[in-house]
């Protein structure tokens, strides 16, 4: 793998509540290389979004962040607000799940993107406008001149997400954090956004941390994938390997719960039980109460991620017990 653009080591985020602490993220390790698209999958509440926010130093109070986040050589954790402000947008930018709500309804799309640009660079209105129009062309927005003058509510979801990506790109960040950018879009638009992101990674060397719970999008877009469960990465590795031959029982279960074409109604399986309460985790492995491979060891100790060669990591005591899986499991 090339030089890491983002490297997260032992990240934990705690939210103190009355009488207890909610551990949103506990010991998360991640690396995204230059020009690499890293997928981050997990159920709601597994700590994906909090990890993303932490990368920009945006964990809301009273959240406490510990560990190490290095963005292109810049240590994020523990920085002052004024230093972080400079980094956001310049080193890493973020796009969100709901593009319709991620733009200020009070200003035209073009004006607010130009505004961000002027905030970071000493340039005049005209130069800013030219750069924004250029960014609109990069993301293939039709009629940049017209779109520039539109209010967010006058654009469609797909156009808005393109505009958001354009905004994220204006300051030429090295890393794009995409927090479920396709979830709220139609499948056809979803595919367009995926193609666009892949194009940007290939042509600009943009690194992307792509957060989603959609394994289909991961398979189509990402180079590598990390699977999160209860605030920690339980498995990571190249996409084809992880989705094709999952090592961790949670990944396997997650793949089984994806409906596929041609599948009988009875074949769809759900993972029994539910995501644990992050304020009171079960003893040992967090997945143990829902896992069919769970042993006494799992109930006693929390497994640490082990390497299995080929860039694959998994945090499970019973990887070797995994039933042999066919390649038809690739989503």
């Amino acid at each position: 793998m090339s030089r890491p653009m983002l490297s997260v080591n032992g990240l934990s985020v705690d939210f103190p509540e009355l009488g207890r602490t909610v551990q949103a993220v506990r010991g998360c390790d991640l690396e995204v290389g230059e020009g690499e698209i890293m997928g981050l999958v997990g159920e709601s509440g597994s700590g994906k979004s909090v990890t993303a926010m932490a990368c920009l130093g945006l964990v809301p109070p009273p959240g406490q962040v510990r560990g190490e986040i290095v963005l292109d050589g810049f240590q994020v954790v523990g920085r002052k607000e004024s230093e972080l402000t400079r980094v956001r947008g310049e080193l890493a930018a973020m796009i969100f799940q709901n593009p319709g709500k991620a733009l200020n309804p009070f200003f035209t799309v073009g004006r607010q993107i130009a505004d961000v640009l002027k905030h970071h660079r000493a340039i005049n209105d005209h130069a800013a406008r030219e750069i924004v129009l250029g960014a609109f062309r990069t993301v293939h927005l039709p009629d940049p001149d017209i779109t520039f003058e539109k209010y967010p509510h006058q654009l469609s979801g797909g156009q808005l997400q393109r505009a958001m990506i354009a905004m994220a790109l204006t300051c030429e960040p090295k890393l794009l954090i995409a927090d479920e950018p396709t979830t709220a879009l139609d499948v056809t638009i979803q595919a367009q956004v995926v193609v666009l992101l892949r194009e940007l990674a290939a042509t600009r060397g943009l690194s992307i941390l792509f957060i989603t719970h959609d394994l289909g999008v991961i398979a189509a877009l990402c180079d590598r994938v990390a699977v999160m469960y209860a605030g920690t990465v339980v498995e990571q590795g190249p996409v084809a390997d992880v989705l094709g031959r999952p090592l961790h029982p949670y990944t396997a279960k997650l793949l089984d719960s994806v409906p596929k074409l041609g599948m009988g109604k009875a074949e769809l399986t759900a993972i029994p039980g539910q995501v644990p309460d992050m304020g009171s985790l079960p003893p040992g492995c967090a997945f143990q109460p829902r896992c069919e491979r769970a042993s006494e060891q799992c109930r006693q100790h929390d497994p640490v991620a082990r390497s299995f060669g080929g860039g694959r990591l998994a945090a499970c005591f019973h990887v070797e017990d995994a039933p042999e899986l066919g390649d038809d499991r690739v989503a």
Partner: protein
């Protein structure tokens, strides 16, 4: 710059004529237009009072005292023989000034308090809100009366007292509005693009949180006129010879039963102004909804 996308150009539609646009606006905002017209008339009366007035408003003519409304004296005369119509016209100046100054001052104090309080929350919120609550702990008109009593009677002190007792409402409205807006995704998006707290507040929070304040402000514009008139009525607001509607009503109240016009017309002026301003406020609220911006 044309505002119509290419996708709509396939079927060419002629630009609607100005008359049509105006008619559409008037029919869809009837009450607003009524309020705006009445309010404009009042503002014109206030600005051009010396020309609108038929008599010298402070000229005392005992021969004409307590005349009923007639063509010469449109609203009759008071106990000193002064023309009530002219006095009402000049009184509009005082009332409008009171509305602007009191509402403006109250917003000027309350808005930053509510903004900081709602945006930062936590301890900042507690301190600022408890400070505002002190002023809310008194019955509505008692605090201005107490403050005016302490500072001395007079219109300036009364206006200051009203603003001080009014600002906590703006702080509270702004705080609630800011809390709603600050959880919007575009605030997170702005922060994620490296926009500082100060700039986020000014560019993104304030414009989107302002609507309730503007609406409340335009409503309160009427109520402050009313409150100032009340203070003048009980004798601690405007002092003679200043012309103020509340004061005019107060000075004539002993004669009200026999000479109805002495109190009715100043009272009616207050009523019409407050009503017009409220209609205006309602209309502004409807139009400030960003989804109705096509009218701009």
């Amino acid at each position: 710059m044309t505002a119509i996308g290419d996708e709509f150009k396939r079927t060419p539609v002629s630009e609607p004529s100005l008359a049509l646009v105006v008619r559409h606006f008037v029919t869809s905002h009837v009450l607003f237009v009524v309020g705006a017209v009445v309010f404009t008339v009042i503002v014109i009366c206030a600005l051009f009072a010396p020309w609108v007035a038929t008599h010298d408003p402070i000229a005392i003519v005992f021969a004409d005292k307590l005349e009923p409304p007639s063509l010469d004296h449109l609203m009759g005369t008071d106990s000193l023989g002064r023309d009530i119509f002219s006095r009402v016209m000049f009184g509009a100046r005082t009332s409008l000034m009171v509305g602007v100054v009191v509402t403006g001052l109250a917003i000027l104090i309350g808005l930053p308090i509510g903004l900081l309080s709602g945006y930062f929350g936590g301890r900042v919120d507690t301190v600022l809100m408890r400070f505002s609550d002190v002023f809310l702990a008194f019955p509505p008109l008692l605090l201005p009366i107490a403050i005016t009593a302490a500072l001395g009677s007079g219109l300036i002190n009364a206006m200051f007292a009203l603003a001080v007792s009014w600002f906590p409402w703006y702080a509270r409205i702004m705080r609630g509005s800011v809390i709603r807006v600050k959880n919007e995704l575009y605030i997170s998006a702005a922060r994620a693009m490296g926009v500082s707290h100060t700039r986020t507040m000014i560019r993104h929070v304030v414009p989107n949180a302002l609507t309730p304040v503007v609406v409340q402000g335009s409503m309160d514009f009427g109520y402050t006129i009313l409150a100032a008139a009340s203070l003048s009525f009980i004798g601690i607001g405007a002092q003679p010879p200043r012309m103020e509607w509340g004061l005019m009503a107060a000075l004539s109240r002993s004669k009200f039963l026999d000479f109805w016009w002495t109190v009715t017309f100043p009272g009616l002026a207050i009523f019409v102004t407050v009503l017009a301003v409220n209609l205006l406020g309602d209309g502004i609220r409807d139009m400030l909804d960003p989804k109705h911006k096509e009218f701009r």
